[in-house]
Symmetry: D2
Subunit: 231 residues, 4 copies
C-alpha cells in the first residue's frame, strides 16, 4: 500500500477482538466495507485479527492491516507476530502502539523500521498531542490520535476534544510535515467524521462505531458520504 | 482434537517465527509432516504462526496448534490473540507459556480454561520439573517440559538431562495422573526421540531440529521410525 | 525471620503505595503495629514500600517485608529490586506475586529460590485455590490466598468466600504439608480474622483495612484480640 | 534539585544493582563521590537502589536520584515505586526509561509529569538519536543518550559513536532548546568525558566505569579534572 502516494482521506476500521468480526464474519464485514468504499470512491481499509488476515486479504482489494506486529526479525520466537508473516498473509500495513496494545518507545521505532523494510505501511497510535509528535518522529506513514477515555464511548473525539486534535496536528506538523494524520475514539456518525476532517486530519480510525453497529454498512456509508461532502 | 482420546505418542513441530516456515513455506512444511505421519502411522501436529493457521488447517488433516493465545474473552482488545479466533481459523489446540512467550501464572490458568471452553486442546510448557507440576495443576491436555538452555542447542534434553525428565514425570504424576507429557529442546535425531519416550514421556515438542533441517521430511521420518520401534 | 520456627498465627500488614503509610508515616504506623503485637503477644509484621524498609527496620523489631523482589542476581540491572538490597536494608522477608504485582510463573520460582539464598522469608500470593497449590510447589515459607475482587472491598474473604479458603487449604496441603497459609482481602474486623483462622489458615494479610482506618491501632488490636480468643 | 538553575556540567553515577554499591557500600561510595565533587567543584550525583536512597540522602548533600519510578499516583499498588515515596526518602530526582528498565512511551510522559508534580528532577534515557528527540518532547530536565550495545563495554560512546551524540544533540535541540543533555555507555576515562562535553553534551551518565573500578574515587577524580579542563 503506497500510502504516501494517495492524497485523499482514509477510513480504517479496526476489528479488534470482537466476535462480530471474527472468522467468517471478518470476511463478510470486509466485503461490506469494500463495497461502500467502491460505491462512494472513498479510500477504506480494515484491520482484522491475525488469524483472519490471509482470508480477508484474499477476498478484498482494499488494504488490510494487522492490529500489531512484534519488533523482532525472524528467528526463534514462539507466539510472536512477525512483520514478514503479516506481509506474507497479504496485509498492506499494520497498526502499531494502539492504546489497547501499547509498547515500549524503543519498540515503536523498531517496529516502524522493520515494517517499512518488509513493505508494510504503518499506522502508529498515540493518546495525547505530545505523544503524537513523539511517534511522528519515527516517521510512520500515518499517526492516529486516540484519547483512550473516549474509545468506545460514543462521544466523538472530534466533537468532545477538538482542541486535542488541533493541538496534535500542530505538534505533529512541527516535527513531521508529511505524515498522514487520523483521529479516532467515539466516532459513530458522518458528522463526527466531517468534524475530524475539518480539524485538519486526513481520516479516521474507527472500531465499535462500525463493528458493533446493527448495520455496519449503513454507518460506513454515512462516514463515506461525509467525506464526499468535504471534497 | 480430542487429545484425551488418543493414546499413542505425539510429535508436535513448533514453527516459531522461522522464515523457513512462514507463509507458503508453512503450508509446504505441514504437507511434508502430514505425509510422514500418514506413512508411519505416528500422530504428528504442527504449530505455525497465527497468520498461517487458517491456510495450513485448510490444507492438512493433522492437528494444527497456535503458538500462544491471550487469556481474554472477545471484546475491545486490539492486537491480541483470541482463542475464539484461533479456533475459527481451524486450529485444534494451542501452546501456552512457551519459554519464548512466558506468561503470568494467573494467565496460564485463565488461558487453559478459556481454551477448553472454546474447544482448543492445550499444550502448557514449563522449564523445570517443579514448574511442570505447577502447570499440570491447571489441567491442560498436555504438559511440555523444555529447559530453555537446551532449546535450539542440538544437545537433546532426553540425553543431556534425562534426570530432569524423570523428575518432571514423577512430580507431574503426583498432582495429575492423566495429563500427556511431552519433552523438548535439542531434539534432532530419532535416537533422541526414542530416549524421550523411554523416560516416560508421550512424545516430543520440536522446532529447529525439524524446521531448520536441510530436509525436514527426513528428520521427521527418523523421529517417527523411532516411535515405531518402541511400539 | 525464622518463619518455620514460630508456630502461632501471623498478621502481616501490607502498606501498598498508600500515602497514609509513606515515609515518616510508614515508621509511625509500624510503631503502632509493633506496640499492639507486643501488648497482646500476637506475631505481627509490616510490608512498607522499598524506600521505607531501612528506616522502618531500624525502628522496630517486628519482621519487615518487602512488597516484591525482582528475580535477578546482582549485576547490570537498573531500576530493579534486588533481594540482596532488601536484605541489606534490614528486611526479614518479601511478598512475591501479589495480585497487584503478578509475575511470570518462572519468576515466582526464581524469586523464592533467590530470596531463600539471601535469607529472606517468602510470602507468595495466589488468587485461586488451584494457583495457591501451584505456588506452594515452589516451597515458599508462606502462601497467601487473596481473591482480587474482594481486595479493598470491606467484604471479608473469610466470610464471603469461606469455601475458597477451605478449598485452597485442601489443595495446598495435598502438595505441601508444612507451608504456613495466610488469607486476605476485605478483612476489616476481628471477627473476619477469627473466621479466617477457624477455616484452617495461620493468619492474615491485610492492607486498607488497617492502613486506611481512622485509628489503625484500634483495628490491629481488634485483630490481635480475635487471635487470642482462639488460643 | 533545581536542575534548570545550575549551568555547569553534571556527572551522574548509576549504582545499578551492583553488589559493590548495595547497602553500606552505597553510602561509602556516595561519600567518596561527594568528596571528589567538593574538591574539584564539579557537580556530581548518585543513583543508588531504592532501599538505599534514604540512607544515602541522609549522608550526602549531592543530589540523589532513583533509578526508576512507576507512573502511578498513590493508592492500592503493591510492589511499585511511587514518586512520592522516592521524594520522601530524600531523592532529588529520578532516572526514567533506562535501557535496562525501558517503559511504554505513554508511561514516560506520565512518569515525567508525575515526578515534576512531586518535585523530582527527571533524567529520561534514550538509545538512539531519534528516540532522544522523542523523549525530549516530554520535557524532562535531562535527556541521557546511551546506546545499549556500548553500556558496560569499556568502549566510550563519545569516542566510538561521536556522530550518535552530535546527531542526538541536533535532533533534541530541534524540539527542545533547553533540556540538559547527558551521554553515557562505556565511559571509563577523563578523556571520554572530555570528548562527550566537546560534542555538545552537558555531562555524563556512568555506571560500571566508576562502580566496578578498583578505586572509584580515582576514576571520578579523573572525570572531574577532565570537566575542569574544559572550563
Amino acid at each position: 500500500m503506497a500510502t504516501r502516494e494517495f492524497s485523499g482521506p482514509f477510513l480504517l476500521v479496526n476489528f479488534k477482538t470482537y466476535l462480530e468480526a471474527t472468522g467468517k464474519r471478518a470476511v463478510e464485514l470486509s466485503d461490506k466495507i469494500e463495497a461502500v468504499g467502491r460505491d462512494t470512491g472513498v479510500r477504506v481499509g480494515v484491520a482484522p485479527q491475525f488469524c483472519d488476515i490471509a482470508q480477508v486479504a484474499s477476498q478484498v482489494e482494499i488494504p488490510v492491516f494487522a492490529q500489531h506486529v512484534d519488533p523482532m526479525a525472524p528467528g526463534a520466537f514462539t507466539g510472536h507476530v512477525l512483520a514478514e508473516s503479516v506481509k506474507a498473509a497479504g496485509a498492506a500495513g499494520t497498526i502499531i502502539n494502539h492504546s489497547e496494545r501499547t509498547i515500549r518507545l524503543l519498540d515503536i521505532e523498531k517496529s516502524v523500521e522493520h515494517a517499512r523494510e518488509v513493505g508494510l505501511a504503518t499506522v502508529t497510535c498515540a493518546s495525547t498531542a505530545r505523544l503524537a509528535a513523539a511517534v511522528a518522529l519515527s516517521e510512520p506513514d500515518i499517526v492516529a490520535i486516540e484519547p483512550p477515555e473516549l474509545i468506545g464511548s460514543g462521544r466523538a473525539v472530534s466533537k468532545e476534544r477538538p482542541e486535542l486534535i488541533t493541538e496534535s496536528v500542530r505538534r505533529i506538523r512541527n516535527v513531521n510535515p508529511n505524515v498522514k494524520i487520523l483521529c479516532g475514539a467515539g466516532i459513530t456518525t458522518g458528522e463526527d467524521v466531517y468534524a475530524a476532517l475539518k480539524l485538519g486530519t486526513q481520516g479516521i480510525l474507527v472500531a465499535s462505531g462500525v463493528v458493533k453497529a446493527p448495520k455496519p454498512e449503513d454507518v460506513i456509508m454515512d462516514f463515506c458520504q461525509a467525506v464526499r461532502k468535504l471534497e
